[in-house]
């Protein structure tokens, strides 16, 4: 990448909840993906379109994504290889997602995040194996938020801390990691977009329609999940993210939420718990799970006209 910007001038320009169901990439039919679809999941895809329109107005120079599908049991890992080019096949939905990716990574920022995280007492590792395959969660969220692939990426793994300990311990670590991420962005002078790549409620149907994009089969797994999703989105729209964090452990348990993988808590920690309204671009279900595309632009950094 180009020469690093001046240290200390960095900031987070925007953060987004950017869920990663591979169905959305499948339905968009980008040339990198092998399977072809007719259509499907338009609510969410059109929501991503609105997110992209807002993001295009910002002068972003790096995307930092926290993905539930790079699962690590020993701490938090960041990609530390300058470039990756390979084929990503979703082990769960290989019929939908076989994506040829070609991406660059911001290793300097990744190392800074690892240093800041370690300084906060977190177990951090930098992944330097060039044969490593990037997970489909990272790819899906990046593809949907910035399909041009013209910006370097920093990918952060999802530590299993929630599963090894409990939701409160997990949230504490993820908030600390979010704050470490923000410090690294500021220290390295980056203008960053942060993507939290998780669904909200996350109980799947365990059968799939013969035609995956058959929307007559698509609905929430159960009404309780939907009520929880609406409640959480309502808190985001009201700027009550501290209350959301307080309720996060219950949300995770009652709605089988993918927030248990830590992405949203990381994002809210990095944004220091927004008290300004989030812009909700879309809500929709994918094979029973609840997904929202939500954007936060810190008001002091917002581009004129980008925040409605």
């Amino acid at each position: 990448m180009a020469a690093s910007p001046p240290a200390g001038s960095g900031r987070i320009l925007a953060g987004a909840l950017a869920p990663h169901p591979p169905h959305l990439v499948y339905a968009e039919n980008p040339p990198q993906n092998e399977p072809r679809a007719e259509c499907g999941w338009e609510n969410l895809r059109w929501g991503y379109e609105r997110l992209r329109r807002n993001l295009d107005k910002l002068d972003i120079d790096v995307i930092i994504v926290h993905s539930p599908h790079w699962k690590t049991q020993q701490g938090h890992h960041v990609l530390g290889v300058p470039a990756f080019k390979s084929l990503s096949v979703d082990p769960i939905f290989p019929n939908l997602f076989r994506f040829h990716y070609d991406m660059k990574c911001d290793v300097e920022l990744a190392e800074a995040i690892a240093q800041e995280g370690a300084g906060a007492g977190l177990a951090m590792q930098v992944m330097r194996n060039p044969d490593f395959r990037v997970d489909y969660g990272t790819i899906t969220s990046c593809q949907l938020a910035r399909p041009a692939w013209d910006l370097p990426i920093v990918a952060i793994s999802s530590s299993r801390v929630y599963f090894d300990y409990n939701n409160d311990v997990g949230d504490r670590q993820m908030v600390a990691l979010g704050r470490a991420t923000r410090r690294a962005v500021e220290r390295t002078g980056r203008r960053a977009l942060l993507l939290a790549s998780n669904s909200l409620s996350h109980r799947h149907f365990t059968v799939e329609p013969e035609i995956p994009e058959d929307m007559s089969q698509e609905r929430i797994y159960h009404h309780g999940q939907y009520l929880w999703d609406m409640h959480v989105i309502d808190l985001m729209k009201q700027g009550r993210t501290r209350q959301l964090m307080a309720e996060m452990p219950d949300f995770i348990e009652h709605a089988t939420s993918e927030c248990k993988d830590g992405s949203l808590s990381w994002l809210l920690g990095a944004l220091e718990f927004p008290d300004y309204p989030a812009e909700v671009h879309a809500y929709g279900t994918v094979i029973g799970t609840g997904n929202a595309v939500v954007e936060w632009q810190p008001p002091e950094h917002a581009v004129k006209g980008a925040v409605q």
Partner: protein
């Protein structure tokens, strides 16, 4: 044709990538080598695997790419190096396994895509057990929602396909036992179990494994999961027992047990052995057909649909959802005349007769045996083989299955087991079987107290040891009036 050796091996890559980094990793690598030698001596024509490191959510996926090839890097242990592999699968068997799963009610499908990310556990196991990829393999994923019933049926489907294709197979459960890792990497020479209680519970399981009691370990999986940090609920052991034979007649050997970054990893070999410990007890259902993951109260094709449970936020800004009400069971409601009942969850009749006939307030059941709906499998085994040779069978398991079939027919008829009034039992070997039959009968029907007659007969139409003839009160009959009338009579 069957499973000739069952193995439990860990999912961690360390025995492959850094076997000499610690004595524990070396012990696991040596145990893998011992297992490899036993496989080579058996010369099986199939390795069939279940990997806890391959998660899925849509049913179960079975690998069917004939020669999957890639350079694998573990998501966690990428610093240990890359693992190039070229494996050999048996797509014909994989398809047969998937078909057998569908026949047993599972959502199973094969996958064969270039670049499919075969998991660390599978790659490690196959490279260490069959380095030259000389033996075709088949591997299935671990569904994150599946509980015991679904996983047991998946194992039975694997066995169905092994039998149908005449394979001599080695079954491999790729799983750690305990799965609590150190939160940060530890130097290999300082590796230790992350949890003392996980280690203690694992040693207890390994002691039972060492006695060859595979089914007992399978039935202890829930307990282990409650008490320790199990790897994926030990679903792989449920699968292994169902695939290899759900009993305790094995020669068991724990070839190694060691910590790998805190997790409890073991290599266990189980060789079928008729002189091993008998089936001591069964606390769990021996499920043959999967009926779905959330339908405990679903009365099936005869009845209505039960919504999954709701959990709604209690915050005041969210309206509470009304509780779901199951639809009423639809059953014959005719109080007079005759109504025939066919129960879809009971084995098909072997002749031209209904499962049950209602006359007035009474239900008369045709003779009921232990065969399982959908498969005709006989729990406890048949009493004779196809050539007429006598076999060793389990009369307690057969009796339990018979009474369960009676229950299914009664429930399909709108009645229930506690409304049974009179039982006639037919045994093909009174001397051998009365005691076991009587024990299970007392457990399941003794408290209900129907009148009973037990007869010895020469044979039954299928190779079963027991059949029951039952009369019961209909579901909407006035039980007090019926029994009162009986007392008056």
């Amino acid at each position: 044709m069957s499973v000739e050796l069952a193995l439990v091996v860990p999912r961690m890559p360390h025995p492959l990538l850094c076997p000499d980094a610690s004595p524990g990793y070396r012990a696991l690598a040596d145990a893998y080598a011992e297992a490899r030698a036993r496989i080579a001596a058996l010369k099986p024509d199939l390795l069939v695997l279940y990997s806890s490191a391959w998660p899925c959510v849509v049913g179960h996926q079975i690998q069917a790419d004939p020669f999957p090839e890639w350079v694998h890097v573990d998501q966690d242990f990428h610093a240990l190096g890359s693992i190039p592999y070229k494996l050999r699968m048996d797509p014909t068997y994989s398809e047969a396994w998937a078909a057998a799963g569908r026949a047993r009610g599972l959502h199973t499908r094969t996958v064969a895509y270039r670049g499919f990310p075969i998991d660390t556990g599978t790659v490690t196991a196959l490279k260490l057990l069959d380095p030259g990829s000389e033996i075709p393999a088949s591997v299935v994923s671990c569904n994150m929602y599946a509980d015991r019933a679904e996983t047991v049926v998946l194992g039975k489907a694997a066995a169905d396909a092994i039998s149908a294709q005449g394979k001599r197979a080695v079954a491999v459960a790729v799983t750690n036992i305990s799965h609590r890792l150190h939160p940060a990497p530890v130097p290999p020479l300082e590796d230790r179990f992350a949890s003392l209680k996980d280690d203690e519970w694992t040693r207890k399981l390994l002691e039972i494994f060492g006695e060859g009691r595979l089914e007992d370990v399978s039935q202890l999986a829930r307990t282990f999961t409650h008490e320790a940090h199990a790897d994926s609920k030990l679903k792989a052991i449920w699968w292994l027992a169902a695939c290899s034979g759900p009993h305790n007649r094995y020669q068991g050997e724990v070839l190694a047990y060691a910590p790998v970054q805190g997790a409890g990893c073991a290599v266990v070999a189980l060789t079928p052995d008729s002189s091993g410990a008998a089936n001591l007890e069964f606390d769990e259902d021996d499920v043959d057909v999967f009926h779905g993951d959330r339908n405990v109260l679903d009365p099936g094709p005869e009845g209505g649909h039960v919504e999954p449970p709701r959990q709604a936020p209690t915050h005041s800004s969210v309206a509470a959802a009304p509780a779901a009400k199951p639809a009423p069971v639809q059953a014959p409601r005719v109080r007079t005349g005759r109504v025939d009942v066919a129960a879809h969850k009971a084995p098909k009749p072997v002749g031209a007769y209904p499962h049950a006939r209602r006359v007035g307030d009474l239900l008369f059941l045709s003779g009921v045996g232990p065969r399982q709906a959908g498969t005709d499998a006989i729990p406890g085994g048949p009493v004779r083989d196809s050539d007429g040779h006598t076999l060793d069978y389990d009369i307690e398991a057969q009796t339990r299955a018979v009474i369960d079939n009676v229950r299914r027919i009664l429930e399909a008829s709108g009645s229930s087991l506690d409304r049974v009034l009179d039982v006639t039992t037919f045994l093909v070997d009174m001397d051998r079987d009365f005691k076991g039959y009587n024990k299970v009968y007392a457990e399941l029907l003794g408290g209900i107290g129907p009148t009973r007659t037990t007869l010895a007969i020469r044979a039954l139409p299928t190779p079963i040891g027991i059949e029951l003839k039952v009369v019961a009160a209909a579901g909407d009959a006035d039980m007090a009036a019926l029994t009162g009338a009986a007392r008056a009579g």
